[in-house]
Symmetry: D3
Subunit: 246 residues, 6 copies
């Protein structure tokens, strides 16, 4: 049940504890992919997961602005601070729990949100009013995950499948010209870079040509399946906190 | 230019200082109207305003969860605290200003956000990095404003025009049955109620039948025009702070 | 019972749940009226209300500094941030509730405090330890409310009645010379100004000559009566929060 | 110049950098002395200091609620948290500095505020916009300071001089009966008590009979003189921060 | 039982409610004494106290950075803000209380931490999950306390006993040359200085030559004894909060 | 130069911009390894790195309490909240930067601190007063990193080399009996567990017998070398923030 479209009486009549909250980011994704890429992806995967699972699931609207200061040198990138992002997501989830939707998967489309969402999930869960875990789609596509990048093969493929009009195919060549091979600037197992502009000319990491529409379809299938299995597990899990070790 | 769809190179090439940020709420709107009503309205009015003005305007994605704890007795209502909402909106606006979009109108669809957005606008403006004012669409429709309510004639009319599929016409009778005449529980010029459930049975204030599709079209026209005039004024205004009185 | 003058043993022996907390501001009120105008008003109205009601009411000391950054271009204006003001008032009220004075009317003398006090009242009330509502005197004087302004007819009249020595009658002509007709700088139903110096030369809004001493007496009577009725209602109201709608 | 009574034009014409901010508390002072004792004292001493010094000094309204949770077992005691108190005082002082009154003495009437005010003064001073120091009257009355107590000889004496009507002489016997000899419950140089009710039956520390009206007059004279000397020093002091030691 | 060295199974088997938390500072102590002086002292005294008392006591690791901005003109001085220090100490203590070590003495080695630790102890104790009091060693050495200073006789003596290699005896003459006689710059019972560099040339207060190794041994004995008595009292004390006075 | 042992005059004479800040945790490490394991490791690696690099490096004292609530079911585990930890580390690092030590490596011994330290490094670096990166030793030991666990082969090996007395060899069998194979409880690429007690009986992950003293020596060598290379890179890096992409 999509909360944007449902009425409160619909929600009242919906018997479930499960909810998904898509979380994205509005940030540069190279010259060929839209700023809204991570929102599109989070929504698409959330919907696919809900569709694949045989349970009622409440679906919240996508949170569109995340932790993306690392892309601030690229025009149009929006962001909020880590503290504010954590508070906004946590309180939004807690408001769902108030209505009994207290087993929540936060479906994430942006790498910069990962750490913060894990912290949020922990705080919600330890607080005791709800159980919440983050799920980041591109970590859940099997071996493909290794090719993630940024505006690279995976995201471009997913867009080609879900929102093809938003991919500027005529700029793919430009995108390839300035792309970086990997995320960050590493030395001694440490990323020395804090801003993506330190290691990519045009904001792209990975070759966007490598991910075609069919690949995008497969990615969505893989991520949707993984999410469906996760929802099933979250619904069944004993989420009480362990006893003190004596 | 819609930031969700644009690439960073598109944004780079866009010469303007003007931006609009739609802000809504995901909250009960009676048995006949969707929880996402305020988001739909904020987006529609923002788009209408941008269309009516003869200047380039950057359009941010809508912020979907606002200050709506007052509706928490109605299932599905989402909310964040006032503090978190203010921080989220302010920082999102400041990230736009970072790119030079530093004259911002926050287009609001929800009464519960009004005070907070005024505070946010003041803090941004006094901080000096940007000028921002909130614009609440239902305050900007001339004499219609008096009929506002909640899920009442104005919002239902606007939905009938912008998103007719989301209005449950078959439940209009139910909506009328439990509606309140006015917002709040007043005595001595003071609203004694803090929760809408203190004065409305089904979450509706005002008669939703009173607002037909044509009315909705007119409302959007009125609000869009008002917003366009505001954008024009914001673009031209001397926004420097006054000198100290000597 | 005035808490400033009472001993703790007096308070112990006082059987009531009702309290009033006057809240003002120390800020410019034109060349003719003192910076303390809003404190004087809040105290006078609080006392009038307590006098008019046939119940025991505890009266806290007036909080003298409020949200007045909008007047900072005028020398002598003091202010704190919105966050700090909310915390200070809320915690002060909660300390009263600790002693059983848990039905509280916050008697306000300053327009800039209105939104914040409503938020404070909501948070206190939803928190469950007390019920609190703000009452702003100049909203509670019937048709006079329309003439409010700033340092204008209403406030000057009230001062002429309550604290005539503080009105500089010899500067009334100056006050009229630089006064604005209305509060703010409006366009498209939006106030474009954040600082009063954007629309008033000398800090005055409305004509201070229009409010004589007799008018002040009437205003105090009206506001005191309204407050007394409010206190009565607050004492009797069922302040439990509504049930969840099922 | 008393800011409550002055107009902004008066303040504009006042040429000084010096300001005093009285800070009190509304808290139990035994069965014989009013809850407002610390406010009365802070105001009286501030006024005496301003009178004794041969410079123009701006005088802010007294802040009436301080850090007094330690007295919460005694009805009527009001308090705010340490954090909120620090913010409120600091921001109020900073608003004075905004107008050029950037050498400030915070005149304190309450022991519970001492540590917080020192911290506030440090933060203001290191921030660089103003210089502020707290002055606690009962630490500045020579050998009398040793007899301080609470609602004891010093405070009762001062009240007998400044506000005799507020001393319940008929309850002095009661006050003596339940008073403690010293503040706190000490062992190994450590105060084990956090609440005054842990060591005083009726809230009194020290014998209130010991301080007569003449003593009160002397105390006010001593404190006023000390404050005047302090104001002189604050006006003349080089308040720039020291250089880094090289 | 030293928590650094113990395993969780050791802690599980330890039956006590008592804990000590040493708190120091890393800050200048003159040209002759190490920046870690306050940590060394806090640890030594904590260990001595634990040794002298006939009860099991859990000993936390020392917190090494405190409130020391006042020494920031001297290279190498580290500090955190008062807010952060309070939070860090409070939460660390609360984590001990989570395991049942809910009677805690915070053993402090630094004057700048005193006020903050008292506030922390109050908040923990009133919160109800634990009882905590700060103990500052140099306030607990009888008449010696009067000679405290900074890097002066007491601290130098203690170091000569506990960590003689850390005292640069060859620079004692330098230390004496630039030392101040007293802490602060006082006028009218008010310390006008906020930074130690305002009153001491080389960071030293008091004559470091005055405290020899034997004196250090005595100081440790005195402080350790005092702490042991305090631990005994803390273990036995009724720490329930007093009843409301009726 | 170790700040605990150095005097401020030593620090003044030290010409470098480089600093290391060891950060650990006091938390369960199974029945055989001490709660202080992560502090021991962070200190040992920091010292090894400083030794291996041919530059002057300032070494701060180790921060002993970190983000370890996930181990709270095991007695003796200490922790602070993520917010407090971030503030404490950030402000401590900023105090070093105040003295010119503005290229900082935070040497971390605890997995639970990793995300927070990355955030802290980003905030410090973007703030512009310093450049800081975290370095987590067990991520920097080549292929060994894969065997990390908790109280498992790597940590036990390092302890056997650095602090052999702290390893309870007689309990290794117990440690093996209850250990988990991997960290967390994973499904669909998501860790469903928030507390280590959800997946390990005795707090151990990985087989502690697998890491002997020689392995520990090698680990320290590897980590020390990696840290030395990192320090070299940090000293030489252009840490200015990138230009806005035009």
């Amino acid at each position: 049940m999509d909360l944007r479209d449902a009425t409160w009486t619909d929600v009242r009549d919906c018997e479930t504890e499960l909810a998904v909250v898509p979380v994205g980011s509005t940030e540069q994704h190279g010259p060929h992919a839209p700023l809204g890429t991570d929102v599109v992806a989070a929504e698409a995967v959330a919907d696919a997961g809900v569709e694949h699972v045989d349970r009622e699931v409440v679906r919240a609207p996508a949170i569109p602005v995340g932790i993306a200061e690392e892309h601030r040198q690229f025009p149009g990138t929006m962001w909020v601070s880590e503290d504010t992002f954590r508070d906004y997501v946590r309180e939004a989830v807690e408001s769902l729990a108030h209505h009994g939707f207290d087993r929540v998967v936060i479906v994430n489309g942006h790498g910069g949100n990962v750490d913060a969402l894990r912290e949020v999930g922990g705080r919600i869960t330890r607080g005791g009013d709800a159980y919440a875990v983050p799920f980041t789609w591109f970590e859940a596509v099997g071996e493909h995950s290794a090719e993630m990048g940024h505006g690279g093969p995976l995201e471009t493929a997913l867009l080609r499948h879900c929102a093809p009009d938003l991919v500027r195919e005529e700029r793919i060549e430009d995108a390839r010209d300035g792309h970086a091979e990997g995320w960050g600037d590493w030395l001694s197992y440490t990323n020395l870079a804090y801003d993506s502009a330190e290691f990519t000319e045009n904001g792209v990491v990975g070759d966007p040509e490598d991910g075609d529409r069919q690949c995008g379809e497969e990615l969505l299938e893989l991520a949707g399946d993984a999410l469906a299995r996760l929802l099933e597990a979250v619904a069944e899990r004993d989420v009480s906190r362990p006893e003190r070790r004596e």
